[in-house]
Symmetry: C2
Subunit: 179 residues, 2 copies
DNA sequence: CAGTTAGTATAACGCTTGTAACAGTAATCG
DNA sequence: CGATTACTGTTACAAGCGTTATACTAACTG
């Protein structure tokens, strides 16, 4: 998280953690395997985002996920996520797991109760706004955009039949309901 | 676009274009400067997205931008964009221009007639969905999500006063209006 | 035509990279 | 207690990196 993964080299990493490069290789086999295991940890942490957003501290639905993801404290993790995302798009063979889980860890579990289309839109909105926030640090503008998205969802649901409403509103309510 | 920029090295690039590494350095001064100029070209191409979406061939508003960006033909450019985006987030000092323009090239020109909040949401949605599409190649799901976003915008505007409606509807109509 | 410039090719330098080979130490186990 | 194993440390290697220096050729300029 501190140094990224693009120009990660074993020797500086080794001295940073008080050991030597060959020791790392002894434990991980190769640099690539080390990276793979790191990315596994990254995915684990991202998956806990869904769970943490359900916890007692965050109970306001999709806005909670946004609060979590846009928390400056999680900036380094998110930056790492997007860095790997970009590299993975270029080497899908190597990072296919990462790409698949980046989307489906959300679709399949925290948003399982929501239809795929609504969930896809919600994930994309959070992702896109997060990318904007990290790039411009213009928190006001981006936060307001998120709020407007939530308003859009509610306003739309308000003018649907109750059955239709479920599928849309669920995006914003699922997490609260489950919590 | 074919090989990415993360592990770009001069020698393979040079032979690929039929010359040698020192020749590249003679023309660009340094590798970093070469990269900077490449990124300038990338930005130029991305900026033409906004204009192309206004052209006669694409007249359906925000959906047109989506059609352009999600066109498989532009996949390599988009992948390069996201790769650089990820790297730029880690080195904002080096790529500050790129980060700024990635958002503001949209806010300031093609979407200048739209309020910043709506424009921010629209950009983020396209960006996020594009990231999903490139990662999962699940075009149906992502296309449907985009369509739902457009429905959300229209449905919301339909239940506002005419003045309120303008700011929301403009996101989807600006391009058509200007074209 | 002479001279300056732009462009290209070749060789080499110093440095970093991932990795392999080997030696030493601490802990575990029969 | 002796032996096997797990772990750490040091050295070395071959390859690739960005870059510099130098020589050569083609093209413009006065």
């Amino acid at each position: 998280m501190a140094h990224g993964i693009a120009d990660l080299s074993l020797r500086p990493l080794a001295v940073a953690i008080g050991t030597q490069a060959p020791v790392l290789l002894h434990h991980f086999g190769s640099k690539e395997q080390l990276v793979v295991e790191i990315l596994g940890r990254v995915r684990d942490r991202l998956r806990t985002i869904g769970r943490d957003a359900v916890s007692d501290q965050y109970r306001s639905g999709l806005g909670a996920v946004w609060a979590w993801a846009s928390d400056p404290e999680h900036g380094p993790l998110m930056r790492l996520f997007f860095e790997v995302y970009g590299l993975a798009l270029r080497r899908p063979d190597r990072y296919s797991d990462f790409l698949h889980h980046s989307v489906h860890d959300w679709l399949d579990e925290p948003l399982a109760a929501v239809d795929d289309i609504s969930a896809t839109l919600a994930i994309a909105t959070v992702t896109g706004l997060l990318l904007d926030l990290l790039a411009t640090k213009d928190r006001d503008r981006v936060d307001n955009a998120m709020q407007r998205f939530l308003i859009l969802l509610r306003s739309h649901a308000d003018h649907l039949t109750p059955t239709e409403r479920n599928s849309v509103n669920a995006v914003d309510e699922t997490i609260t309901i489950e919590g």
